[in-house]
Protein backbone atom coordinates (compact mmCIF):
# COMPACT_ATOMS: atom_id res chain seq x y z
CA UNK A 1 0.00 0.00 0.00
CA UNK A 2 1.49 3.25 -1.13
CA UNK A 3 0.88 5.76 1.61
CA UNK A 4 2.34 8.78 -0.17
CA UNK A 5 1.38 9.34 -3.80
CA UNK A 6 3.53 11.73 -5.84
CA UNK A 7 2.98 13.29 -9.26
CA UNK A 8 4.13 13.88 -11.89
CA UNK A 9 6.77 11.22 -12.43
CA UNK A 10 8.75 13.61 -14.62
CA UNK A 11 8.63 17.31 -15.33
CA UNK A 12 10.29 19.61 -17.84
CA UNK A 13 10.28 23.33 -17.09
CA UNK A 14 11.81 26.30 -18.85
CA UNK A 15 14.43 28.31 -17.00
CA UNK A 16 12.68 30.99 -14.96
CA UNK A 17 9.42 29.06 -14.80
CA UNK A 18 7.62 27.55 -11.82
CA UNK A 19 8.01 23.85 -11.06
CA UNK A 20 5.16 22.24 -9.14
CA UNK A 21 5.22 18.75 -7.64
CA UNK A 22 2.20 17.35 -5.84
CA UNK A 23 1.82 14.74 -3.14
CA UNK A 24 -1.09 13.17 -1.31
CA UNK A 25 -1.09 11.05 1.79
CA UNK A 26 -3.55 8.69 3.43
CA UNK A 27 -2.39 8.22 6.99
CA UNK A 28 -3.83 10.95 9.23
CA UNK A 29 -1.16 10.14 11.84
CA UNK A 30 1.47 11.72 9.58
CA UNK A 31 2.52 15.10 10.90
CA UNK A 32 5.93 15.83 9.44
CA UNK A 33 6.32 16.34 5.69
CA UNK A 34 9.85 16.74 4.33
CA UNK A 35 11.03 17.10 0.76
CA UNK A 36 14.31 15.61 -0.42
CA UNK A 37 16.41 16.55 -3.45
CA UNK A 38 18.64 14.00 -5.15
CA UNK A 39 21.29 14.76 -7.76
CA UNK A 40 22.65 11.97 -9.98
CA UNK A 41 25.20 9.82 -8.17
CA UNK A 42 24.28 11.25 -4.77
CA UNK A 43 21.96 10.27 -1.97
CA UNK A 44 18.85 12.37 -1.29
CA UNK A 45 19.34 15.48 0.83
CA UNK A 46 16.76 17.23 2.98
CA UNK A 47 15.52 20.32 1.15
CA UNK A 48 12.64 21.73 3.19
CA UNK A 49 10.01 20.39 5.61
CA UNK A 50 6.65 21.43 7.04
CA UNK A 51 4.44 20.54 9.97
CA UNK A 52 0.63 20.60 9.51
CA UNK A 53 0.08 23.52 11.86
CA UNK A 54 1.06 25.88 9.03
CA UNK A 55 -0.29 26.06 5.47
CA UNK A 56 2.86 27.31 3.80
CA UNK A 57 6.61 27.40 4.35
CA UNK A 58 9.07 29.25 2.17
CA UNK A 59 12.83 28.95 1.98
CA UNK A 60 14.35 31.01 -0.80
CA UNK A 61 12.87 29.87 -4.12
CA UNK A 62 11.34 26.75 -2.56
CA UNK A 63 7.83 26.78 -1.04
CA UNK A 64 5.76 23.99 0.48
CA UNK A 65 1.99 24.43 0.41
CA UNK A 66 0.01 22.22 2.75
CA UNK A 67 -3.73 21.41 2.71
CA UNK A 68 -4.54 19.36 5.78
CA UNK A 69 -8.22 18.79 4.99
CA UNK A 70 -7.39 17.44 1.52
CA UNK A 71 -4.34 15.55 2.81
CA UNK A 72 -2.24 17.08 0.07
CA UNK A 73 0.98 19.04 -0.06
CA UNK A 74 3.07 20.42 -2.87
CA UNK A 75 6.50 21.82 -3.64
CA UNK A 76 6.80 24.96 -5.73
CA UNK A 77 10.15 25.98 -7.16
CA UNK A 78 10.04 29.59 -8.27
CA UNK A 79 12.37 30.95 -10.96
CA UNK A 80 13.52 27.41 -11.74
CA UNK A 81 17.19 27.10 -12.73
CA UNK A 82 19.13 24.38 -14.61
CA UNK A 83 20.92 23.66 -11.32
CA UNK A 84 17.56 22.61 -9.86
CA UNK A 85 17.47 19.64 -12.23
CA UNK A 86 17.27 16.66 -9.90
CA UNK A 87 14.88 14.05 -8.56
CA UNK A 88 12.57 15.30 -5.82
CA UNK A 89 10.94 13.06 -3.23
CA UNK A 90 8.10 14.06 -0.95
CA UNK A 91 7.82 12.16 2.30
CA UNK A 92 5.78 11.86 5.45
CA UNK A 93 6.23 10.55 8.96
CA UNK A 94 4.54 10.56 12.33
CA UNK A 95 6.04 11.97 15.49
CA UNK A 96 5.28 8.93 17.58
CA UNK A 97 7.17 5.69 17.54
CA UNK A 98 10.44 5.71 15.67
CA UNK A 99 9.46 8.31 13.09
CA UNK A 100 10.33 6.24 10.07
CA UNK A 101 9.71 8.14 6.90
CA UNK A 102 7.55 6.99 4.00
CA UNK A 103 8.68 8.36 0.64
CA UNK A 104 6.81 9.14 -2.55
CA UNK A 105 7.96 7.62 -5.81
CA UNK A 106 9.93 10.68 -6.92
CA UNK A 107 9.72 13.34 -9.63
CA UNK A 108 12.55 13.82 -12.08
CA UNK A 109 12.77 17.54 -12.83
CA UNK A 110 14.62 18.89 -15.83
CA UNK A 111 15.01 22.65 -16.18
CA UNK A 112 15.97 23.60 -19.71
CA UNK A 113 17.70 26.88 -20.63
Amino acid sequence: QQQVKQSPQSLIVQKGGISIINCAYENTAFDYFPWYQQFPGKGPALLIAIRPDVSEKKEGRFTISFNKSAKQFSLHIMDSQPGDSATYFCAASGTFGYQKVTFGTGTKLQVIP
Binding site: Y32, P34, L46, Y98, T105
Partner: protein, 113 residues
Protein backbone atom coordinates in the same frame (compact mmCIF):
# COMPACT_ATOMS: atom_id res chain seq x y z
CA UNK B 1 31.79 17.70 7.24
CA UNK B 2 29.35 15.25 8.78
CA UNK B 3 28.44 12.32 6.66
CA UNK B 4 27.19 8.82 6.07
CA UNK B 5 29.71 6.60 4.33
CA UNK B 6 28.81 3.48 2.41
CA UNK B 7 31.72 1.12 1.90
CA UNK B 8 31.27 0.41 -1.81
CA UNK B 9 30.01 2.55 -4.68
CA UNK B 10 29.54 -0.39 -7.05
CA UNK B 11 29.32 -4.12 -6.37
CA UNK B 12 28.82 -7.08 -8.69
CA UNK B 13 27.94 -10.38 -7.04
CA UNK B 14 26.84 -13.78 -8.22
CA UNK B 15 23.47 -15.35 -7.49
CA UNK B 16 23.55 -17.22 -4.19
CA UNK B 17 26.45 -15.27 -2.70
CA UNK B 18 26.18 -13.74 0.76
CA UNK B 19 26.59 -9.99 0.41
CA UNK B 20 27.48 -7.44 3.07
CA UNK B 21 26.77 -3.73 2.61
CA UNK B 22 28.40 -1.54 5.23
CA UNK B 23 27.35 1.91 6.42
CA UNK B 24 29.09 4.19 8.91
CA UNK B 25 27.92 7.57 10.24
CA UNK B 26 29.91 10.08 12.22
CA UNK B 27 27.06 12.19 13.60
CA UNK B 28 26.22 10.18 16.73
CA UNK B 29 22.74 9.54 15.31
CA UNK B 30 20.51 7.08 17.14
CA UNK B 31 18.49 5.99 14.10
CA UNK B 32 19.86 4.25 11.03
CA UNK B 33 18.02 2.99 7.97
CA UNK B 34 18.49 0.92 4.84
CA UNK B 35 16.48 1.74 1.73
CA UNK B 36 16.54 0.41 -1.79
CA UNK B 37 15.83 2.73 -4.70
CA UNK B 38 14.31 1.45 -7.92
CA UNK B 39 12.98 3.49 -10.88
CA UNK B 40 9.28 4.22 -10.50
CA UNK B 41 9.16 2.76 -7.01
CA UNK B 42 10.94 5.47 -5.08
CA UNK B 43 12.66 4.66 -1.81
CA UNK B 44 11.50 1.57 0.00
CA UNK B 45 12.49 0.84 3.58
CA UNK B 46 14.17 -2.51 4.16
CA UNK B 47 15.20 -2.34 7.83
CA UNK B 48 15.87 0.30 10.42
CA UNK B 49 17.50 0.49 13.82
CA UNK B 50 16.82 2.94 16.60
CA UNK B 51 19.55 1.79 18.93
CA UNK B 52 22.55 -0.50 19.14
CA UNK B 53 21.60 -4.16 18.70
CA UNK B 54 18.01 -3.15 17.95
CA UNK B 55 16.38 -3.66 14.57
CA UNK B 56 12.94 -3.35 13.05
CA UNK B 57 11.58 -4.63 9.76
CA UNK B 58 10.63 -2.08 7.17
CA UNK B 59 8.30 -2.55 4.23
CA UNK B 60 10.39 -5.06 2.22
CA UNK B 61 12.59 -7.09 4.62
CA UNK B 62 12.34 -10.44 2.83
CA UNK B 63 15.73 -11.75 1.76
CA UNK B 64 17.63 -9.27 3.94
CA UNK B 65 18.97 -9.06 7.46
CA UNK B 66 20.85 -6.38 9.36
CA UNK B 67 23.37 -5.98 12.12
CA UNK B 68 24.09 -3.05 14.40
CA UNK B 69 26.84 -3.91 16.87
CA UNK B 70 28.04 -0.32 17.27
CA UNK B 71 26.10 2.94 17.22
CA UNK B 72 27.92 4.29 14.18
CA UNK B 73 27.73 1.18 11.99
CA UNK B 74 24.74 -0.49 10.35
CA UNK B 75 25.23 -3.44 8.02
CA UNK B 76 22.80 -4.85 5.48
CA UNK B 77 23.17 -8.54 4.66
CA UNK B 78 21.78 -10.35 1.65
CA UNK B 79 21.78 -13.94 2.82
CA UNK B 80 21.64 -15.44 -0.69
CA UNK B 81 21.71 -12.81 -3.39
CA UNK B 82 19.18 -13.04 -6.19
CA UNK B 83 18.85 -11.12 -9.43
CA UNK B 84 15.75 -9.28 -8.15
CA UNK B 85 17.94 -7.70 -5.49
CA UNK B 86 19.83 -5.78 -8.16
CA UNK B 87 19.24 -2.20 -7.05
CA UNK B 88 20.64 0.99 -5.56
CA UNK B 89 20.95 0.65 -1.79
CA UNK B 90 20.91 3.77 0.35
CA UNK B 91 21.83 4.05 3.99
CA UNK B 92 20.54 6.94 6.11
CA UNK B 93 20.78 8.12 9.68
CA UNK B 94 19.00 10.62 11.89
CA UNK B 95 18.63 11.83 15.43
CA UNK B 96 15.68 10.43 17.34
CA UNK B 97 12.87 12.97 17.27
CA UNK B 98 10.12 14.21 15.02
CA UNK B 99 11.79 17.16 13.35
CA UNK B 100 15.09 15.66 12.29
CA UNK B 101 15.66 14.87 8.67
CA UNK B 102 17.68 12.01 7.32
CA UNK B 103 21.27 12.19 6.17
CA UNK B 104 21.86 9.76 3.32
CA UNK B 105 24.97 8.11 2.01
CA UNK B 106 25.79 8.22 -1.69
CA UNK B 107 24.50 4.70 -2.25
CA UNK B 108 25.80 1.33 -3.36
CA UNK B 109 24.82 0.13 -6.83
CA UNK B 110 24.54 -3.66 -6.47
CA UNK B 111 24.27 -5.88 -9.51
CA UNK B 112 23.54 -9.57 -8.99
CA UNK B 113 24.38 -11.73 -12.00
Amino acid sequence: DVKVTQSSRYLVKRTGEKVFLECVQDMDHENMFWYRQDPGLGLRLIYFSYDVKMKEKGDIPEGYSVSREKKERFSLILESASTNQTSMYLCASSFRGPDYGYTFGSGTRLTVV
